[in-house]
Symmetry: C3
């Protein structure tokens, strides 16, 4: 379903919370929005207590005026249902609908998300306010998109949650015997003899059951999805022409399976807050997250719903973005499929727990460097316009949230096994080599690609293994990293050596894990170092490319290749070695950068006939036409970008050559 | 109200807990006290379970004997009400009066402070035991001072606390609308529609509301103050001639506003335990805390009620004081206004959770180095006698516990923003330059000073800003440090640039915070480094004294001066740079050290006609007469002190010159 | 009571959990066991939910088949009662029997140990399943040993626990006055006036009472021991010929006094998981733990019930053992008194929280380096056979779990006072010098030894002090380390200087503790450094061997000796200095290594006529006959061991000399 009114143009805007301000500020707001090129704002995300100050008592007047004002100024609206933060009265009306922690603490209002997703009273209240909103604003000309809730992710361990978890498990397993088998309840005397004894993973004396933890995450994903669907169905019925989305938050603790959720939204939308601005970390992470979003969207367009316009959260420090970085990172999102650039938030909040978060209009007021960056970006986006051509990628990376969750479980061979970091390392290495990567779900057909990258696919299903095997059998190339194929979908460990169902394809059998303690490294032969992890790899057909040079594994293979196209990597290669290795793999698989000169901070993405080139470095760069292979070509000044037609590029290169 | 019996002499003693010992030890105690020069001891601080072993059943006989014994030996008594630690029976008689944590855990007896300050049963029990004590000991000749409770600071989140918090909020705000505005409840859908829905900041799913947290601290301060006042009023009625105090604890987590409390006590009393003994850290901190106490006392005398005679708590390590350090630190307190020196405690406890805390009589017994230090100090204090003249200071530092609390809130631009450390850094820099500093509350008139120092006045009220503006307008000099003027009294962020209400006075507008991550530093031009924080400072009248030399702020001002007398500092200057800068400011403001030669570990305080000079260093020092400006003068041996009449000093210098 | 069927041969095997596998795997299991030389397996440890899937409903068929299968293959069985992990139904049938934390959180099933040891319903259920097992398998020919429960250590703070704690305290103290005295309740107003007010150390506002904490640990030890005894008595009645044991876990948080427990078991059994594999840390720790077990067993044989066959837990990292290390560490246990070598576990679990723990049959399957190591060890043990002669040791180390617990209490002079590490440092230094050490309980007669080592005997009773005094008076030598003699059995601090009751014997009086902050060191004169701790030591008869060279203690004694045979060490000596010092002490006490050439990684233990020599190093070693004193002798290849008759050694040396 298209985003009405944005044919040919990119969205630009952010969360707008007029309820935090007196109405005279609204006038300044829309005037500034127009100056900045804002054409879309998200309204109402946390407005429940303003819209329904007491149960069943609605106050829509202010929102009417906001939507009219925006519409009068040519600004469209993403209208949010406010269900992420029930008002204070909610917990008093329905104490049983407040969330409960693992430890049995019933949380109260005072921040946000104070509700149990499984509580009938919450579900009813959420449907009611969504219905009221849809009834009120169906047909409002500003309404472009529904934004249900915000960053779904609430977890609850109460009795409502327990009952719902049991229903979900019954659906999944059918019989208690199947549950007992799946959860390995023969271990530590956990066998269930009665469905009523199954609980969420509440506080327990020692290590919890990993399969129970994992299934509870899956249940949370599905339970929250049910919450979403209930609202979506209300909205679809009342406003059948308006697409419905919700913004995915991406973090280790968010119990959302984006592959499943993407099937239920009309438009994939994500929030993205890079976690570091060291070197090019934010740039690498942006490319990864944008590729993820495009993957979830099945290669189609998606929307960056939130980013921080002016800061990067470095640990707990809110560090301002570097000059031009807002534009460069935003362009990366657009190049990789976003319909535009939305920010959190329009105007910095006057108070509250996020008063110091970044905003398009800072506390200091309009006369500020950051607003000038925001205005510049708005103009650039307007110039660029929207082109939805498919992103060109010969390489796919298999990404699996279930493996992410399982690697957060107890009892693993090492602490801090960070699935996200492992995927980032692989994707980032390709990014530094200028190669565009698609993200695919385990088990998806891979036939369109030349090369598939598989980092840490801890839980490997038969379908995922089959897809990879078929791909390789048909001539495809694959690289599999350590911690893949270790267990099945219920964290039952594969017997017979790792990477389990992938072992034959790779021609290796891993006999033993040798986790490397924090900070330890192992030298590789002929060159390079490994860290974090190592393994005793028995080649069963594969040849060694790199070997361990020291320690108990001295002389044993560290990286292998089977039949010239199936690589296995048993340790975390240092950055340089990983890039050298991947360059070798790319050469073997006939994978090229998006354009000659791409890589090492010069980000190039080809999208249909368009080429986006962003120079994130402080030196000038030159890129050639993808078809030519020349390293000289079109110049891109430090910190700037260039968007051009692929065919024009040849001309551009010529002209660049005559400079 | 004077401290009876201490006209002309200094107090010396400490907490005395005879209830921990058989009576034959008491005899040894008083004998040793006399040897040590002890003339005042605090009795009964934690004796509730000994005085009222069962509800309403009193045992005063032992205390009668203790007071008589002390009096017979010429030792006066600070008699404590024991309400800081209700006996075990209390929680069984009144389970609803036990304290409850944020998480809803009801705590039990087993340490101390097991009560809810808002529970009617606690309040009644506290009044009852205070009344019984006052009735019993009114007129006892040993009784010199009432010491209510101990280190008030207990926090509770129970329903009693909730009800009292709501009453306090109604008093403060009048209407729910005003509360909603003050707390910015429009953020995250927190708007209250019913007073009954307002709660203490109990456990909530995510970041709590900063204004709610801050108001809860304020409420705790007022609620505990109400506890104090109830007891004080009982004591005043029954013993109108005996002054009443309570000892203030000073720590980030103590929810006490000393400015407000100081108005309610007859004598300001503090406990002081330095947190480090690295270099001169304990000495610097002592001067700061003593100046704070004098500030709270409105420049009048106060009392050091507790210090550790023999140790400094270095993190969790109880490290013995250095030889002579007990005397030097004690003298610093006396010089800065303390009526004497009281210690925790007289005799090391035989057991319990503080058995290894320092004591005047150590476990090892009387034949110990530490007791010799204690005895030496007693003799010195007796020789010195008491002189209550006002401390001379041309410089004031504005200190605000509300800013301290607010800077502990969630959602700030950086973690670990340590208000205490920032104040200490400023005060300590002045201390190292030999300059005496008074501490004043925000909004107090500043007319008596030449210079005002304002570190991190995060919450700046109009009255505080007006006081500073008037002061500068009348020719005063001011230095304001970063993180000042950021928000109003409810943590609502100032719009239009920082330091908000102080910006005009300083001629700058701060557009953006650039927090510096942990360990990061930024070079300054022409010299020096900044750490912890930096800012994009737009001069609006001010000139740059120092500029940022590198990074995104390269070339922008770091330290500015406006109209030659209003400085703004936007980063944490390294120690040397801060001292160079302050020396420059002192010169401009015509501020001189307390005496020539003061500073760099040679602490000099002028109090009326008296000059106290303490050489904390291991080298000999010389000080000149304040009026002369000569660097040569009276010699002070390493580690010793000298107290003299200011006029005598000239003579002393002469005689020193002829040595 | 002998272990039937193991006369003359060593046990070899591990935990076997066939309930986790289909029966066809069992057949592979026993075949592999035979190949590996396994002759004993522990069955049923966590099988409660398989044996009693619903209350009172038993399923023994599978266990019948397992025992028969094992017996048919010549493998004996340690049959466990499964009471360490009640099934899920248990908590639903008896909610009051689930454990409760300090904070009042009632824990649920989901891991293991979900029960309150004091709950009547748990006690009854445990007796019932133990009875059912004993009735069923009394007389089964495979049954060699009963293994009650697993790693007793559960702690609960619920009302059942509170009532039981009060009963225990009444037994211990008789009167409330005695309790008040023992717990120093005069401190902080904790005096009890009613037994019903005494509680476990539940969450309390501030530091808990150290004596209450310590007594609660003692109570837990006794309460769990009562649980054990109830089952033991059932088993003894039904199978009077089968010995009964339980496996002791060794960790700071385990509230078990092994000295008391050892008196109640028929065979001391321990689990041992070294905590580091840095250098020879695992080897040193193994020797220490094996000596502890032998000490608990009163010098008799004992059994290593669990070790990890293939990994060492380095922090959270499961790092594979080095080649040959499994055999070497196992031999160390056998040399020091173990009846054999049992592992956790036979076959790696298919799932659950310990699926990645080490196993004899790894996930990778039988064709694995680790299984080859396991098989090799089996063959070695079969060759060696069993010889129960007494271990020869001239040195004893006094070890006291109560001091360990007390040093985990609040309010100590320094954080991180690690009793275990202090004992390990002393024992490890002797180990590096090749000297065998027995472990004895405080107060045990010491007459058989030449030298007694006393590290950190924080709580020193009169009987412990008397035993040491008598020993020294009769010509014995003793070394006492800092933190000894500090307090009595209720953490009441000794008055008059430390090491309290040991001071006279040592000729010193410690006046003051000078804890050294983390990482700080102090130089010693003439050589060496101290860390962690220092003291102001006043010699009262003793002479200084080493003095503090710097700081406030410069020139004061650091290590002293009294009457040529009573040493006192007031700081943690660096490794080299500690070894030099101990070498000097050994010489004075006429203590020799177990054989010439022993030490520095060459572990030698003499047991009766047998000499076990294990070369843990990567260089060849040579040892001489104990009676000869020659440094040349029998060669031991790197990483190998040698077991020989002491008399043969002389011959061996000769033949070695002619090589």
């Amino acid at each position: 379903m298209p985003l009405r009114g944005f044919e040919g143009r990119l969205c630009y805007g952010g969360d707008y919370n007029p309820e935090q301000w007196p109405e005279h500020v609204w006038v300044e707001d829309v005037q500034l929005m127009r100056q900045c090129g804002v054409n879309l704002v998200t309204v109402g995300v946390f407005a429940w207590s303003m819209l329904e100050p007491a149960p069943g008592q609605y106050e829509f007047g202010w929102l009417d005026r906001v939507l009219d004002l925006l519409h009068d100024n040519g600004i469209s609206v993403v209208l949010a249902t406010p269900t992420a933060s029930p008002p204070p009265w909610f917990g008093f009306a329905h104490p049983d609908a407040l969330p409960v922690t693992r430890d049995g603490v019933r949380l109260v209002h005072g921040s946000r998300d104070a509700y149990c997703p499984s509580a009938p009273a919450y579900r009813a209240a959420a449907r009611r306010i969504a219905t009221a909103l849809a009834q009120r604003y169906a047909g409002h000309p500003a309404l472009a998109l529904w934004h249900v809730h915000n960053e779904y992710g609430t977890v609850c361990y109460c009795d409502h949650a327990a009952a719902a978890f049991r229903r979900w498990l019954r659906d999944r397993y059918g019989t208690l015997d199947a549950l007992n088998e799946a959860w390995t309840t023969a271990f530590w005397s956990q066998r269930y003899a009665d469905w009523e004894h199954v609980l969420p993973p509440r506080a327990t004396p020692y290590l919890a059951n990993p399969a129970q933890l994992l299934d509870f995450r899956r249940f949370c994903s599905d339970e929250l999805l049910a919450c979403f669907r209930e609202q979506r169905d209300v909205l679809r019925e009342l406003t059948p022409d308006v697409p419905v989305t919700t913004n995915f938050a991406i973090a280790p603790w968010v119990p959302i399976d984006p592959w499943a959720w993407a099937r239920e939204v009309d438009l994939v939308a994500i929030d993205h807050y890079p976690s570091s601005n060291d070197g090019l970390a934010a740039e690498e992470e942006t490319a990864f997250v944008a590729d993820l979003a495009r993957g979830w969207a099945g290669g189609r367009t998606w929307l960056l719903m939130e980013q921080a316009p002016d800061i990067v959260h470095n640990g707990g420090w809110m560090v301002p973005k570097r000059p031009g970085q807002l534009t460069r990172l935003s362009l990366s999102h657009v190049a990789r499929g976003s319909l535009g650039v939305m920010n959190f938030q329009w105007r910095a909040s006057p108070g509250g727990a996020e008063a110091f978060m970044s905003a398009m209009v800072p506390h200091a007021g309009p006369d500020a460097r950051s607003l000038r960056e925001v205005t510049h970006l708005g103009a650039q986006l307007a110039n660029l316009g929207r082109h939805d051509g498919p992103v060109a990628a010969d390489v796919a990376l298999v990404w699996d949230p279930h493996s992410w969750w399982a690697l957060q479980g107890p009892g693993l061979p090492a602490p801090g096994l960070d699935y996200w970091a492992m995927c980032r390392h692989v994707h980032g290495s390709a990014w530094r080599l200028g190669v565009t990567v698609d993200i695919v779900a385990p088990g998806e057909p891979l036939s369109g690609y030349r090369l598939v990258l598989v980092p840490a696919l801890f839980l490997t299903t038969a379908s995922a293994a089959d897809a990879i095997k078929s791909f390789v059998d048909s001539g495809g190339h694959v690289v599999v990293w350590y911690l893949s194929g270790v267990a099945d979908t219920n964290v039952r460990v594969h017997r017979g050596g790792w990477p389990g169902l992938l072992a034959t394809t790779l021609g290796v059998r891993v006999e033993r894990h040798y986790p490397l303690p924090h900070q330890a490294t192992v030298a590789l032969d002929p060159a390079g170092t490994g860290s974090s992890w190592s393994e005793l790899v028995r080649p069963e057909g594969a040849e060694a490319l790199l070997r361990y040079a020291k320690g108990d594994l001295a002389g044993e293979p560290a990286v292998t290749v089977h039949a010239g196209r199936a690589w296995y990597v048993s340790t975390r290669l240092d950055d340089a070695t990983q890039q050298r290795f991947l360059a070798q793999v790319f050469a073997a698989a006939n994978v090229a950068p998006a354009a000659p000169g791409a890589g090492h901070g010069v980000e190039v993405v080809r999208r249909g006939q368009r080429l986006y080139a962003i120079n994130h470095t402080t030196s000038p760069a030159e890129i050639g036409a993808p078809s030519q292979g020349s390293q000289t070509g079109l110049r891109i000044e430090p910190g700037t970008y260039l968007v051009t037609d692929v065919d024009n590029l040849v001309t551009d290169i010529d002209s660049a050559a005559h400079r």
